[in-house]
Structure formats: C-alpha cells, structure tokens
C-alpha cells in the first residue's frame, strides 16, 4: 500500500506526430510536462510523472532515441535542447517533491504521514503571574537590584505609621484595610501595600540599598471582574547619596522599555510616603488613538512612584540629611490583563485550569 492519493491528476496523453519537428516536440513536451508537474498533490502522482517523462521508457528517452534519425548538423542543437528539457523537468519535479509534499523517504509499506499530530508532552505550567514576576525580577536583577520579601500579616506601624501615614491620615481611608484579630498591644492588618518592606529592608540592610519586593497585598473591597481583595504588587526602593528624580525616571523608563517596549508619561501624584510624588502612565496597549480602556487619552495609569519622604527614611533609621532615594509600586495583574486582554481579575485566583493553561 502506498500513500493515499487524494486527487489523481489528469495526465494528458500526448500524441506526437511523426512528422513533427523534433525540436517542436521537445518544446511541447517541456510545456506539457511542466503543466502536469503543477498538478502533483501526492507521491503517487510524482512517481507516475517521473516515470512518464524522465523514466527509462519515458517520453524524453523516446524522443532522444529519435536523435539518430536527424541530420548530423542538427544534432548538437537538438542535444542541447534535450538537455535543457531534461534539466527543467528534473528541477520542476524536485521542487514539487520538496515544496508540495515534503520529503518522503521510501519506507516500504508503512505509512509515514507527517501531518499526524506530534505526541503530547505532559508539561504543566507556571501561574501566569509567576512567569510575569520572574521577568520583572530578572530585569531589575540585571540592574543590580536585590529581591526581598516581608510578612503579609503586618503591624499597623509598618504598614502605615512608619510610612508617614499616622492614624488620622486620609490615606488610611483610601485603602480599605483588613484588620487582624490579635490580643497583642500592636494593631495588625493584612498589608495593603508592599511598601512596609521598604522599612524592614532598610532596617536590615541599611543604606545604600537597591531592592524590589514582589508580594501579595490585600484590600477590603467587594470583588468583581475589576476588583480583587488579594492581588500582587511589585515595590521598589533605591537609596543612596545623591539619588534624584532623574534616576527614578531613568530606572523606570528602562524597565518599561524592557518589559513592554512602551512609551511612558510622568505626572504629579500623591502618596504620603514620597515627596515629590509621581505617577507613571504607559501608552495604551490596546489602541493607538484612544479607546474605552484608556478613556480616550491613549495613556494607561501604571504605577505610583516618588522620592522617599524624609520621614520614611527616619522611620527606618536612615539619615535623611545624607541619603535620598526613590520608590515605586505597581500591580502586575493589571498589566497582565491589559497585555493579554483578560477581562476578569478573579480568574487569577480561581485555580481554573482552562484559564491558567492558556499562558
């Protein structure tokens, strides 16, 4: 049994007049043969055509035999023509073999249908946010940043007070906080931001320091397609002598360029733990001239940033007269949603394989 013939090409039966000039016959043969080659769809047809034209008993061989009947003076030019036709046909058939059918080594009787699906490898997958965070971490590690972590149940002191947000501060209302039951004298919360790790890291390592903090944060918000009570945040902190806004812009522009290749826009923003405070927008990933997601502006809010407030340095025991720094924070889920068009943030924590396996 051979290859399955899907559609058998109609090969033309060529009647050659005995009176026809051999050169004309050769030209006609070439023309007909090239037409036939175009119709090859499977190996059977290829083999048949090869035999028909180039085989030992094929058309070309038959015509070449007629050489002896022509005048000696004509022979060189006819010879050249025979050669030309032969080469043209060989080349056309070779092309047909390679481009239309791929290679098909002689496998005797067994069918080697390369269009059958490959064997499934059972590879699992990382959570989409994991791979995304690795990419983010790698970019910052190339710039010499360390990656640090902190507790998710945090004291109010680290989560708010040390970050220049005393109890009366309106920013505490801006973040709906989960309060944790404790019989201790310190109040405890589910951290609303990764920023408390700024303080913990400076306490541990002092200055200069250059870190990012990917981690989960919590907000007491009704959940819907756009709001999750648990989400990721990536915090960053750089403190040294002479750190400036220029360094903040340079670092973050580099990062965004590497991760998204997008343009950025910086504007004033307000966060109690930085002064000046900035917000960074990125070019809308979904449109070029305004859409619903970017509210027609062409820009998407991406992160908060700023120069570390001297009170924050003081809380962490770093001398604000000597050192200055910048800090930033953003949510990788939001970016992931934009990048891949995910329309429901709750999917990330659903454990639904039909979602997770897509990335």
């Amino acid at each position: 049994m051979g290859w399955v013939s899907l559609s058998y090409p109609a090969t033309r039966i060529t009647h050659i007049s005995v009176n026809m000039d051999i050169k004309e016959e050769l030209i006609k043969l070439k023309k007909d043969a090239l037409e036939d080659v175009k119709k090859i769809v499977d190996p059977d047809a290829y083999k048949e055509l090869y035999a028909k034209y180039l085989g030992r008993k094929g058309e070309l061989a038959r015509l070449a035999k007629g050489m002896k009947n022509i005048a000696e003076s004509e022979r060189p030019s006819v010879g050249i023509l025979v050669n030309d036709v032969k080469m043209a046909l060989e080349s056309a058939l070779e092309d047909a073999k390679n481009t239309i059918l791929g290679s098909f080594p002689d496998t005797g009787d067994s069918v080697f249908d390369i269009t059958l699906p490959g064997n499934k490898v059972n590879v699992g997958g990382l959570h989409p946010i994991t791979s995304f965070i690795w990419e983010i971490e790698d970019t910052f590690r190339e710039l010499g940043f360390g990656v640090v972590d902190g507790p998710e149940v945090e004291s109010e002191w680290y989560n708010f007070d040390a970050l220049n947000a005393p109890s009366w501060h309106p920013s505490r209302d801006m973040q709906d906080t989960f309060h944790v039951k404790t019989d201790k004298e310190e109040k405890m919360v589910m951290r609303t931001q990764t920023s408390p790790v700024q303080i913990r890291a400076m306490e541990t390592y002092g200055a200069p320091i250059k870190i990012i903090v990917p981690g989960r944060v919590y907000r007491n918000e009704e959940m819907d397609a756009r709001h999750e009570a648990t989400f990721w945040q990536v915090e960053g902190l750089v403190v040294d002598k002479g750190i400036s806004i220029s360094h903040l812009l340079g670092t973050m522009n580099y990062f965004i360029d590497r991760i998204l290749g997008a343009k950025t826009r910086w504007r004033p923003g307000y966060f109690p733990f930085v002064e000046p405070g900035l917000e960074m927008d990125i070019e809308c990933l979904l449109c070029s001239d305004g859409c619903r997601v970017c509210k027609g502006t062409g820009w998407l809010e991406f992160m908060g940033a700023g120069m570390v407030h001297p009170n924050v340095l003081k809380s962490a025991g770093v001398d604000s007269n000597v050192y200055s720094g910048f800090a930033f924070g953003f949510g990788p889920e939001r970016l992931h949603m934009l990048k891949y068009g995910v329309n429901d943030v709750r999917l990330y924590k659903s454990g639904d394989l039909r979602f997770l396996e897509q990335f």
Binding site: I129, V180, E186, P208, K210, G296, G317
Partner: protein
C-alpha cells in the same frame, strides 16, 4: 470635580494657541489628572431646533406619529415619533442623521441614520431629554419629548439655542487629595496662570466697611469646641426674596453638574465651586427660639450629645454622637458642621432673612463624622482636605457681593468673625543646589522664583556660602500651609512638576548594591522548585486566596477557631479566617477542575498563617511583640480518573524524590498513619512521612476515602505537602565527579519470592550490605498471584557488578549474587524464583 472653561476665563486669559485638549494634557502632566474633556457643543452635533408643522397618525403603527418638521432647510422633514406630547407648532430638539443619541436613555451612544420605520421614512428623531443627556434641565423623560421654550429659529443648533457653549474639564478627585487649594475654579486658574506665565485675576471682592467685631454683630457665635473650629464668620441679611438665580449662575452650576435650586442656595454653591470654601445659608427666622422675625441670632458651635438627632437637608434623620461637631442654637442642632445643614432651618419660598455661615472646621473631625454617617458631601470633601482659615474672609465677601447683585436693597448686618485662627507662617529654608540635586537636572534661579511666586509663595534669595550656592527662604501661602507644604522636598515638587518631569533627563543610578543577597538565593530555589514541578513533572501552578475555605479545612482536621488567624472585618463570613494550610483551597481547585478534566496535577507555594508568634517578624524593630507565624508552604495534588490511587501514589512519590534529588536534599520516607484524612481504615498504611531532617515536615498520601466521598470526588487523589521554609536551610548533598568506568560490568537478574509483609526497603538494605561490588540495582518486576502462593510476592532486580580496578570475572559476579541470595533466604525466608545472567 468638574471645572468650566468659561468660568476659568473670569480669572485668567488662556493663550489662544492652547486648545482645551492641550490644556487638559498640561493640567494632567503638571497639576492634577484630567479624566475627560467634555465639549458641550460637540455632544449635540447634528441636533437642531425643529418646529413641528403637522402631526398625523402613522398608517402602520398605532402608537407612532408622522411629524412634518421644519428644520430650517425649506422643505420640512418627515420624522416618525412616539412622543405622547408632540403637537403642531411645538419646538423640539431634532437629532438628524449623524447625531449621537442614547436610545430610550439607556445603553451606549449610537449614531443615527436615515431609516424607515414600519414602512415610513424618518429623517432623524425628536428627542426626549434622557436620550441626549439633558434630564437635569428638562426633567420629563421619554415617552415625552422635550418641549423647548426657545426663540431660536428652526435649524439653529441645539447647543447654541440652549447656550451650551462651555467646555467642561473633569478632574479626578483622587488626584486632589493633598491639594485643598484646588477645590475651586480659582485654584485651578492659579495653576494654569503659572503654567502659561499669565497673570491671575483673583475674584473681585469689594472691601466693605462692615465691622467685624462680634459685639456689634447681629449673629452671636460661641465656639465651645475650639479645637475643631478655628474660625467662624457669620452675617445676617434681611430683605431677600427667594426666586430663580441669574441665568449665568444657573448655567455655570448646571455646567459643572450642580442643579440650580434658588437664588440663595445657588449663590452659596457658586461661591463654594469658585473658591473652594463650603458655606451654609440658614433661614434666619428658623434659627430664632420662637421663630421671631428679628432679634439677634445666637449660635453655638459644639460637640453633639450622644442622644441628639438631626434631620439633614436630604430628609434623613441622623443620629449624632459626642465626637461630631454641630452648629446649634439654644434648643437644637441646626447643622452638622462641614457636612450638611438641617432641614428645619432650610431656605424656602417664604424666606426673607438669612444667616450666612462661613467657617473653618477641623479636617479630621469632618472626615470622621462624614465616614460615621456615611454622608459624603461637596462640603465634607473640601473640609477634610484642610482648608485655609483665611479663605472664609474672601468667601463671605464674595457671597455678599453676589447677594447685593441679586438684592440691591437688602440690609446687610455686621459680620461676626470669631475663632482662634492665629497661625504661624510656614517658612522653608532651602537652596538652589538642593533643588538641582533632587531633580538631578539643571534649573535656573529665575525659573524657580517665577514658578513659586506665581503660585503665591514669597521667595527671598541669599548668597549663602562660598560655593556660590544660593539659599532660598520660601514663605508658603496660607492656602498651601495646612499640611500640603512644609519641607524643602515639597518645594522641589512645585518646581519639578511645573518645569515638567518630561524635561528631566532620565539617568541610571550607579550604586553599590546591598540588600537581598540572601533573598536572591531564596528566589533561585523557588524558581528551581516551580520549574521542576511545572515544566518537569507536568503540574500546573495555581494561586489561591489567603482566606481559608473553612469547610474544606474542617475536612482535613483544621479547627479554624483555634488553628487560624481571624479577620475582624472580613468581606464575608466565609472569608473570615486566614489559611493555615494550602490544601483546603487546593481541594476546592480539585473539585472545580474535575468538572472539566479527568486527570490533572496542581501545586501552590504560598504563605499560611498561624496564631503562634513568628520567630522572624516583629511588630516594630526591636520590639518583642511578634506578628503571627506566616511561613511558606509547598503543596501538590495529583488527580486521576484513569489511574488507581496506588499507581498515582508512586507517580507522586517519584516526582517528590526527583524534586529533592534535583535540589540536592537527602530525604527518606517513613510509613505512618499520621492523619485520618490522609488514609483511613479502608486504606492500607500508605502514608509516607518524609523526614527532611529530624523533624517530620512533609507528607505524601492518598486522600482518605471518607474525604473523597464527602467531596463527591470520583477520582483518585494523592496529596503532598511540605514545609517550604525548611528547604532553603537543609544541607545540600555535594555532587562529586566520578571517573567514567572503562572496565565492563557484569549483570545478573534475580527474582525471589518472599512473604508479602517483607518491605522493599528492608530487602534493599540487604542488597546494599551484602556486596561491595554491586554498583547499581533496579527493580523491574513485582508479582503477586496464585503461581507463587497466596501471602507471597515476587520481586525481580537487574543487578550490575563492577570492580573498580580490574575486569570482573563471571565467577566473581556469581559469588556476589550467591551471597545476596543467601542473605535474603536467611533474613526473609526468600526462595529463588529464577536467576539469569545478562
């Protein structure tokens, strides 16, 4: 907050080359975030005034009418309409093809086309108010169309006919959190003036001659709670008449989304929106103890009593408490300070005398009160940002100005002005060098000065040092000194945002790195584990909520009340506890995914939370108060409808062995019945308890039949969990290169029959001990069946012997084999089933 461009133009001349769009972009990049620019005229494009010439019944539909409408084009246009009130000669808003309308006031805007309705052509539509967003001005909605009382000729654009020629800038309130000075048009105008270098025309306030001594005042104010009210200004005006306010005031209020009510209330709102100073106007008569027409008004500003209530202007009765500041007369509360006035003293159509209140209340108090009452108002939003105590003066004069223009004959009393508003000037010492250093960019003294002065700061410059650094002494205007600006970094921000962040050249800092060295190693390990499990072993990583699924937790023996950390204010009662184990949520994942899959494997690495004290995290540096323990855990689950539990168990065991081998940690397994939920009487003791060090920190096992059945899982489920924190710290097996052997091995296969209760592990020990030349062994067959007698099983190994220094002979290998067989016989009563040489 909505800002009207026409209103802004009272205070600044915006350069003619600045379009509204450009202005919005500049505001966003330099001042506050603009969410949207609404061009009123553009909203009503292709909507014109039409005059209905005739109305007749639609031949094909009972409820529809055919209207011939003059739209200023000579020939009247035929429009099909269902409006109940259409009649001849009525002027209407006609949306022509191309106009954007909201069908029946709902959904997205759609663009009209010329169509046929039930066989009759309709050239556009006659609009109801809610179809073109004019409900506020024309309250009757569809099926009544707008009946316009305008003089404009048919064909005039609707925007022009209604005077809708403004451009509205919608500012994100969040970006105004720290800017109390920007909550009115003047504040925004000041920033724009600075942006474009134009001058600011502050609102004209005629300095009046009224005395400000409380003794002569007609309104006597006593501030009892001085901490919460720094200033209270008040004045009584007699001889007002309630009516509609002037058209320009109505138009502007409407433009920025505030519905006009009457002249008195409109003026109050107008001044708030212009200057950012909330204020309140009472009906004077209603403040008097017995509703007298004249006499001094006595007002007290005090904390409410716990039993007091007030019905606010929105008609709700509010329960007050002693933390709330109120304005009261002798008998009752009149208003909740800074939040909302009371219904009892509201302006009504009979009001002829009024009392104006313009005060400065404590921001925290207003915010707390408004939060407690769940009542956020335009006033509270402004007060809670911390207003300038000097703004009351400008505001009260502005209110009086506007009242005078409405009521030229009104009698204006003496102004009361009480409160302890003494405030020291905020002066900041900084320098040009400091500003440059923080920007990381060059900036001229002249630039700094012009920005700060235009924003209302005073700047004096001194050449302070030999280095040529210019010292700056900056006096902060009171409107910015209520918390917004107090340190040199704040001055840096003013300069930075006005020169524009885009004008600062981005550079990368060059610093010695420090921090995260240990944790970098930690994330490398985490990556290794995650890669092995996902890409190597085919598991899908999942991430679950930190709030435990209590039902699932109970199934595996967790008592949330004693084992878990509790949230005081959970989102819902089923999210009240933090997970102390990863498995409950993973079991939820298993149940969910079994709806779509027959076979899958999942894992998670994440923090769990326990009430015990953490050894790692304290509540403050150096404090001995510790946070709850919150270690990371690793947990994995394999699920299959195709494989039986035991097959799956060994799949999991192989993966776990591979994982630890990859990391270089030596582990062993001890069979144990540790938990009821991992195996029960129906199962054999196939829980394997891993010993990573002396303590047992992980387990592999079959989910017990009782858990499987109570979750109605029709599949085999094998779980693995491990104390991930341990992984980082366990000693690693050192990998050492061994010469690749050049001498050939001799291989032998054996199969022995032993009683069933002899474990593989014990036989393995014998293999290892009995021959020093046994290089490797591999179990290749396991058999139980009638051929070898019940109670027995047969195990078969490939054995490979090799001598390190010379070629091993067949005889030597056979001797080694003999030793092994004899030892198995002695120890376990093994019988040889077969022996083959390889």
């Amino acid at each position: 907050m909505l800002i009207s461009l026409n209103w802004l133009k009272d205070f600044i001349d915006i350069p003619s080359n600045i379009t509204a769009q450009k202005l919005a972009e500049d505001l966003t990049v330099h001042v506050v975030e603009v969410e949207e620019v609404i061009n009123q005229a553009k909203q009503y494009e292709n909507i014109v005034i039409g005059k209905i010439e005739s109305v007749k019944k639609h031949p094909g539909a009972d409820r529809l009418k055919l209207c011939m409408v003059d739209i200023g084009k000579g020939e009247p246009a035929q429009i099909v309409c269902g409006g109940l009130n259409v009649r001849k000669n009525m002027k209407c808003a006609i949306a022509l093809p191309g106009a954007k309308v909201r069908w029946h006031g709902k959904g997205d805007l759609i663009e009209l086309e010329e169509i046929k309705i039930r066989g009759e052509k309709s050239f556009g539509m006659i609009c109801a108010a809610n179809e073109i967003g004019l409900t506020d001005e024309h309250p009757a909605d569809e099926p009544y169309v707008m009946d316009l009382n305008v003089d404009s000729e048919p064909g005039t654009s609707l925007a022009m006919a209604l005077g809708l020629d403004d451009i509205i800038i919608d500012i994100d309130n969040k970006s105004l959190t720290n800017r109390p000075d920007l909550w009115g048009h003047v504040g925004i105008a000041r920033e724009i003036a600075t942006l474009y270098g134009v001058s600011l025309k502050e609102p004209e306030v005629k300095q009046n001659n009224y005395e400000k001594k409380p003794s002569n005042a007609n309104v006597k104010v006593n501030i009892e709670s001085e901490q919460l009210c720094r200033r209270f200004m008040s004045v009584r005006i007699d001889g007002v008449k309630v009516a509609e306010s002037l058209p320009n005031i109505q138009k502007r209020l409407t433009a920025v989304g505030m519905r006009p009510i009457n002249n008195i209330v409109d003026i109050s709102n107008y001044v708030m929106l212009e200057l950012g100073q909330p204020n309140h106007i009472f009906d004077a008569k209603k403040l008097m103890p017995n509703g007298e027409n004249d006499g001094d008004v006595d007002i007290v500003v005090r904390n409410a009593r716990d039993d007091e209530t007030i019905t606010t202007l929105d008609g709700s009765e509010r329960k007050l408490d002693s933390s709330m500041l109120i304005i009261a007369n002798k008998s009752k509360p009149l208003a909740i300070a800074g939040v909302m006035g009371g219904e009892d003293s509201e302006i009504d159509s009979d009001t002829t005398s009024i009392v104006i209140e313009v005060a400065n209340f404590d921001p925290v108090s207003v915010r707390t009160t408004s939060n407690k009452l769940g009542l956020r108002t335009e006033a509270s939003a402004r007060f809670e940002k911390g207003l300038d105590p000097n703004l009351t003066e400008i505001a009260i004069e502005r209110i009086l100005d506007l009242l005078r223009s409405h009521f030229p004959k009104a009698k204006i009393g003496n102004i009361t002005d009480v409160g302890d508003r003494e405030q020291s000037q905020t002066v900041i010492e900084t320098s040009v060098e400091f500003i440059k250093e923080r920007l990381g960019s060059e900036v001229d003294l002249s630039q700094i000065e012009s920005i700060l002065k235009s924003l209302g700061f005073q700047v004096s410059v001194a050449d302070g040092s030999q280095s040529g650094d210019l010292k700056l002494t900056v006096t902060v205007p009171t409107m910015r000194a209520t918390g917004d600006i107090s340190i040199p970094e704040d001055i840096v921000e003013e300069v930075a945002r006005h020169i524009g962040y885009h004008s600062i050249k981005p550079t990368l800092p060059l610093i010695d790195t420090k921090g995260g060295d240990q944790t970098n190693r930690d994330i490398n390990l985490e990556r290794k584990v995650k890669r092995f499990l996902s890409l190597g072993a085919g598991f899908q990583e999942v991430e679950n909520s930190a709030f435990d699924d209590v039902r699932m937790a109970n199934l595996i023996g967790i008592d949330e009340k004693t084992d878990e950390v509790e949230i005081i204010n959970p989102l819902s009662s089923d999210q009240q506890y933090l997970r102390s184990h990863l498995l409950p949520r993973l079991l939820g994942n298993v149940k969910d995914n079994l709806r779509y899959r027959n076979e899958f494997s999942i894992f998670e690495i994440g923090r769990v939370f326990k009430p015990a004290d953490s050894s790692k995290f304290s509540a403050r540096k150096g404090s001995d108060i510790m946070l709850p323990e919150q270690p990371r855990r690793l947990s994995a689950v394999m699920v299959s409808r195709n494989k039986d539990s035991r097959q799956l168990f060994f799949d999991m065991k192989g993966i776990v062995e591979g994982l630890f081998n990859d990391i270089g940690i030596d582990i062993s397994f001890v069979a144990q019945n540790a938990h009821a939920w991992l195996c029960d009487s129906a199962e054999l003791g196939i829980v394997e308890n891993m010993t990573g060090d002396e303590k047992n920190r992980g387990e592999i096992g079959l989910l017990s039949a009782s858990v499987v059945s109570s979750l109605k899982l029709d599949a085999s489920v094998v779980v693995f969990y491990y104390d991930y924190e341990l992984m980082a710290n366990l000693p690693r097996v050192k990998t050492q290169y061994r010469e690749i052997p050049t001498l050939p091995p001799v291989t032998r296969d054996i199969a022995v029959v032993v009683p069933r209760n002899v474990t593989y592990k014990s036989m393995e020990e014998v293999l290892k001990q009995q021959s020093g030349l046994l290089e490797s062994y591999e179990l290749f067959d396991l058999y139980e069946g009638s051929q070898i007698g019940s109670g027995n099983r047969s195990l078969a190994w490939h054995l490979s012997f090799r001598h390190p220094e010379r070629t091993l002979t067949a005889e030597e290998a056979d001797r080694e084999l003999e030793n092994i067989v004899n030892a198995l016989k002695d120890k376990f009563g093994a019988t040889l089933r077969s022996k083959e040489s390889g």
